[in-house]
């Protein structure tokens, strides 16, 4: 059976380029649906089982989402699709963590930078689908502060560069202890620390004396925690505002 893929990208040239990347990445036959704006994407998704994907007979397995779209931000779609059982990947021109971090918090499984060479993109896409999400040093740093200070501090965004002024260290730790699922294990924070210093997965594995796929597992787990914690946060916010 063909794997269903949704590509949401407003630039037709880029869209066809991404189609090529997807086709090249997977040997299985796949069925690619293209969408140029959020509206079309939502229609396709509801045809394929709705946002939760629960009663969907044949949901999308892979969704590529561009951030800047004519009728809104791809981030919105990601937020709607938190429970959708697909690998969600952000394709963007923005490589700074101010753009990527919120996407990861909203459940993106990884990101692709559109200006990368074709071969690089293919390799990265394969990695993400296999469960090796990318983590740039800036994002790793951002993750560290996120987990160190609990999840309530995103109101004051501290991007990678802002950390340099040393403000985050002077900020007091919130009195409420973060829930267990929001905490990183010592191993995970060690991995994050190495990543934030620019070490590669292989280097980290040898530094920590573990196998590289174990490092990968840690990264996946960190992703999951980020996702969970942001979801919990959203739930708290929603109940506070009387939405639920």
């Amino acid at each position: 059976m063909a794997v269903k893929v949704l590509i949401l990208e407003d630039n037709p040239v880029a869209r066809s380029f991404l189609c090529r990347v997807v086709r090249e990445s997977f040997s299985d036959a796949n069925h690619i649906t293209e969408a140029g704006d959020l509206e079309t994407a939502r229609r396709h998704i509801s045809l394929a089982g709705g946002a939760s994907g629960l009663h969907g007979v044949d949901p999308f397995r892979l969704i590529l989402v561009d951030l800047e779209l004519p009728d809104g931000n791809g981030m919105e779609l990601l937020a709607e699709l938190t429970h959708y059982p697909a690998t969600k990947i952000v394709t963007t021109l923005y490589s700074d963590d101010d753009h990527l971090f919120p996407a990861l918090q909203r459940g993106a499984d990884g990101y692709l930078l559109k200006e990368d060479r074709f071969e690089v993109l293919v390799e990265e896409l394969q990695k993400i689908v296999r469960g090796q999400p990318p983590l740039s040093p800036a994002i790793a740093r951002r993750l560290l502060t996120h987990f160190r200070h609990g999840s309530g501090n995103d109101a004051a965004p501290d991007s990678g560069f802002m950390n340099a002024t040393g403000f985050t260290t002077s900020r007091p730790v919130p009195i409420e202890k973060p829930l267990d699922h929001e905490r990183l294990t010592p191993r995970e924070s060690e991995v994050l620390t190495y990543l934030s210093k620019g070490f590669t997965i292989k280097e980290i594995a040898s530094l920590m004396g573990i196998k590289w796929f174990t490092v990968n597992d840690h990264i996946k787990s960190i992703y999951k925690k980020l996702n969970v914690s942001s979801r919990a946060e959203a739930a708290v916010l929603a109940s506070k505002q009387g939405l639920v």
Binding site: N11, A14, L93, Y94, F161
Partner: protein
């Protein structure tokens, strides 16, 4: 109503009541409404009287008073001598007391005859003097005594502690002395009965207690000196034993002994306060030492004058009588001033100075009369002129001593504020430190402490020895604990803080806050503008470049466009971020290079060394980023290398970066410098360094970048 207030009201009532009964007693005493003067030969001369019967007898010598029942009381100059306390000669003092008591008794009869030299006799009435007959000097003196009494009470009630009790002792003693002076100043002949007899011992006690209390309080405050207990005990013991001897009547030359002890204890007090100042340069000690020096000095002058004029009548005697009174008034005003030193307004300071200078004038006047035997008029004129000269000359100096001359002109203060505001803007964490610097230059305190305490405004503490200034950062950060600076001992311990200083400090804090807020607003505006430009560039040009890249006809074109796009991204990122920490930037470089090289199946050797994690400016960051990217691209796409070694080293301010590959490139000198290498040269030049290429061994090319003076933003 608090108990302190109740006690104060009670004390005020008691004071007024006491004053009232004293006035009644004095007013009830009989008097002869005429003025007399002791002539040089110790005879009594009538100098004037409103009584018609005596008007004709002006200038004649009075020899005796005769009562209606025929008792005759011989009179001489001693009848108008002022204070037994300041009578130098013991036998004269005894005679004076006896004579004045007899006069009081005689005048109480209500009618008396004055017998003049040459036999003439005039009969006059001697009624009770009444409230109106107390004279002009009596009322202000009594009021001052009452004021001193109340101030002494208030000081103790506000805070009951040893030094305030000592102050109370001094204030009460001086109030008592002033009352005696007031009684002595009443108009006409005829002291209240018993006043002269009762004067010596209480006034001795007042003077001795005052000076002993001064020694004691200086030993305790502002700083306890070593052996304070012993010094205080010795002072009190000396005073008490002299008093006891005088009371028993076994002390010879009472005045000499008393003056010697008072002056000696005064000098001891000065020594103690000097020692205290050496231990801790508290401006309160400095001011007290200055006051003490003036008080002891003038007292010595007055004592010398009185001793020199002893036994002489006429002008010298008269002036010698006024000298001590002037001194007591001066001392009382100093005493009144002491608790309010830090509150002192210009007026009070001027008053203190005027009092000091008039005391000097009087002392000089006495000295001229007594020592040089000048005539009254000459000596007074001379003394007034000298004192005025001294006042004019010393006024500024004294004011500077009290205020501290303003070293910082307004202009300099402004410049400094401006500079500090800039620094605070750059390093908000240093706000307190920099504010401390400004205040330090403004007030030259000995000590600046930080306390974690909030204060609404700056205020003077410790009676002027300290100033608490709140630190208010421009951005109100609730998480940061409130902070105040405590400045201690202005002008290196020579001056007290005043309320004007506190207001000035408040204004400095406020100006600094505003300046920083303004700077921050400007900087925020700038960075918002930069961010907007960056966003526009990135979104519009970036998207077009991307489309162009996808549509590129050849791989070279594609690479060229990708490169342009990456440069654009670096540029926009540089615009949107203010600075980058070297370690963070290096982490990103490494991750970026690893990704690119891994995709091209090229190995990366990465070595990074730095002794300081500097902050890179935007220019430095973007230059290094682009140089690295360009060099790696060369190695990848032109040289087809299989391994690239990057070596980054920052030692002190010297930066060296080398990128070595094992590709096919050789003979760098023969290269045509295209856009890529030219870009590298340009960027390195921008950093102030140089770049060179040489052949790598066994194969490939090494590019070496060195920047000798690479300074991050610390």
């Amino acid at each position: 109503m608090g108990w302190r207030l109740r006690l104060l009201v009670l004390a005020a009532l008691l004071g007024c009541l006491g004053m009232f009964s004293l006035v009644r007693w004095v007013a009830a005493s009989g008097h002869l409404d005429a003025s007399f003067e002791a002539a040089a030969d110790n005879t009594l001369v009538l100098t004037g009287s409103p009584l018609p019967a005596l008007r004709a007898a002006r200038g004649r010598t009075v020899v005796a008073l005769v009562t209606p029942d025929g008792t005759r009381l011989a009179l001489d100059g001693l009848a108008v001598q002022r204070s037994p306390r300041w009578q130098v000669d013991d036998s004269r003092r005894v005679a004076q007391v006896i004579e004045q008591e007899q006069i009081a008794r005689t005048l109480a009869g209500g009618r008396v005859a004055l017998q003049f030299a040459g036999g003439a006799s005039v009969e006059v009435l001697t009624p009770a003097r009444g409230y109106a007959g107390l004279g002009l000097a009596f009322w202000p003196l009594a009021a001052l005594a009452l004021l001193l009494f109340l101030v002494g009470t208030v000081v103790v009630l506000l805070r009951t502690q040893p030094r305030n009790l000592l102050y109370m002792v001094m204030a009460y003693a001086q109030a008592g002395t002033l009352l005696f002076i007031a009684i002595g100043s009443v108009r006409g002949l005829g002291p209240p009965p018993g006043a002269a007899a009762a004067e010596l011992l209480p006034r001795l006690a007042f003077d001795l207690f005052t000076v002993a209390a001064a020694v004691h309080s200086f030993a305790l405050y502002p700083r306890r000196v070593p052996g304070a207990g012993v010094i205080a005990a010795a002072a009190w013991a000396a005073a008490a034993s002299l008093l006891l001897l005088a009371a028993l009547g076994v002390l010879p030359a009472v005045w000499w002994c008393a003056q010697a002890l008072v002056l000696a204890l005064g000098v001891v007090a000065l020594l103690v306060i000097s020692a205290s100042y050496r231990i801790e340069a508290n401006p309160f000690a400095a001011v007290m030492r200055r006051f003490g020096l003036i008080a002891v000095g003038t007292l010595a002058l007055v004592s010398i004058a009185v001793a020199a004029a002893s036994g002489q009548n006429g002008v010298a005697g008269l002036v010698a009588a006024i000298g001590p009174i002037a001194w007591y008034l001066f001392f009382a005003s100093l005493l009144l001033l002491a608790p309010f030193l830090s509150h002192s307004k210009q007026l009070l300071r001027e008053f203190a100075m005027l009092a000091g200078i008039s005391t000097i004038a009087t002392s000089l006047d006495l000295l001229f009369v007594a020592v040089f035997s000048l005539s009254q008029f000459t000596s007074l004129t001379l003394a007034v002129f000298l004192a005025l000269g001294a006042y004019a000359g010393a006024r500024q100096w004294i004011l500077n001593q009290i205020n501290g001359n303003t070293v910082l002109t307004t202009e300099r203060t402004f410049e400094q504020l401006y500079r500090v505001a800039h620094e605070v803007q750059e390093q908000p964490a240093k706000h307190a430190l920099l504010l401390g610097q400004v205040l330090r230059d403004l007030f030259e305190p000995l000590d600046v402490l930080r306390v974690e305490r909030a204060a609404p405004t700056a205020r003077v503490v410790g009676g002027g020895s300290g100033l608490v200034v709140p630190v208010r950062p421009a951005r109100d950060d609730a998480a940061r604990p409130p902070l105040s600076l405590v400045l201690r001992f202005a002008r290196r311990g020579k001056r007290l803080f005043t309320h004007e200083d506190a207001r000035l400090a408040d204004r400095v804090v406020e100006h600094l806050r505003r300046a920083v807020a303004y700077d921050q607003a400007v900087e925020r505006g700038r960075s918002e503008e930069r961010l907007r430009i960056a966003q526009d560039l990135h979104d519009d040009i970036g998207a077009r470049l991307l489309t162009l890249m996808y549509k590129a006809q050849s791989p070279e074109m594609e690479d060229y466009l990708r490169h342009t796009l990456l440069d654009l991204k670096t540029l926009t990122r540089g615009l949107s971020a203010a600075e980058h920490r070297l370690s963070h930037a290096a982490a990103e470089w490494k991750a970026d290079l690893t990704q690119r090289l891994t995709a091209a199946h090229v190995q990366l050797g990465w070595a990074l060394e730095y002794d300081r994690d500097v902050r890179l400016s935007v220019v430095q960051w973007s230059a290094l980023t682009r140089v690295l990217r360009e060099l790696i691209s060369n190695a990848l796409y032109h040289a087809q290398a299989s391994r690239v070694d990057v070596n980054f080293n920052l030692a002190g301010s010297r930066l060296s970066l080398s990128v070595a590959d094992d590709g096919s490139g050789h003979d760098p000198k023969s290269w045509a410098h295209g856009l890529g290498l030219g870009g590298v040269r340009k960027r390195v030049k921008l950093l102030g360094g140089e770049v060179r290429w040489r052949a790598n061994l066994p194969r490939g090319i090494v590019c070496e970048v060195t920047v000798p003076d690479f300074r991050g933003k610390s």
